[in-house]
Symmetry: C2
Subunit: 141 residues, 2 copies
DNA sequence: GTAATATATTTAGCCAGCTAAATATTATTC
DNA sequence: GAATAATATTTAGCTGGCTAAATATATTAC
């Protein structure tokens, strides 16, 4: 009995994952970025000049992924790279004006997504949902 | 106030998405398939001989994605393709023995994933969580 | 029966994500 | 100081996912 519930939850999370990604993808294309890039930019909005390794940790992805994302974002003029003066192995990533200007529009997209996701879910339910999702998050680590 | 809760929920779902994908990915590599392919195979385990368009609808993805997935699964010997005798536009997809043998192992992986996800979440909470996730799912359509 | 339209799939070329292996530079060890 | 080990990034090649455009076949309209 609990088994079918568990199965439903896994399947739901799976479908929500891919549907959210599709949604973001469409939405962010209006801003000329690709889904995933907004999370890299988010780290830079908190403070730029970080290394690619730091971006790896923040995005929880592997170095080659960051190399590719950074290359794409650089080619499209959202960021630029500078080699560290003290350690020539390290590349530091900075926002261009074009990259800085994206912060507000992306925040708006996030809010729109939140409202869409949580439509007709009550405030008390949202609190509980947050707790349960946090639990799932930590279970996955 | 509710706003930060909403934001937390979106972020949690985002992190759970990518972490689940990473987890599945590692787990399924032991079975020599890639994450996403298990959902295509699942449709075939329900009954094979379906067209690529039907796989598109089931996976909620675009035709080129199915073309690529089918090509990969065929090259690795899990499925084979036959052209429809009445309509030469249509390719019908069938499981090989190797593909059929994967059903049980994948089910086991799914169960393991469910247990991991829902560790220390109570039965009543799971019921509620399922309802809320179903709501989110329908909000996304 | 021929022309136009609809359907199913493929190709080319992007993206995020991965692994394995190569490269470059710095730090350590002897 | 030279050899070794650790760190940061890149390259090559794979995956699922996408869009736009091409191809092949079937259906419909005239």
């Amino acid at each position: 009995m609990t088994d079918t519930v568990d199965c439903d939850i896994r399947q739901s999370l799976d479908r929500i994952s891919s549907q959210m990604r599709r949604d973001y993808s469409e939405s962010l294309r209006e801003l000329n970025i690709y889904v995933g890039q907004e999370n890299l930019l988010y780290r830079l909005w908190l403070g730029d000049g970080v290394t690619q390794m730091q971006l790896c940790e923040h995005l929880k992805c592997e170095p080659p992924t960051v190399t590719n994302m950074v290359k794409s974002l650089e080619q499209n003029g959202f960021i630029y790279r500078e080699r560290d003066t003290h350690d020539a192995r390290i590349m530091r990533i900075f926002l261009t004006d074009k990259g800085k200007e994206l912060e507000k529009p992306v925040e708006i997209k996030w809010k729109q997504q939140q409202e869409k996701l949580l439509d007709s879910i009550l405030p008390e339910e949202r609190l509980l949902l947050r707790r349960l999702l946090k639990q799932i998050e930590s279970n996955l680590l």
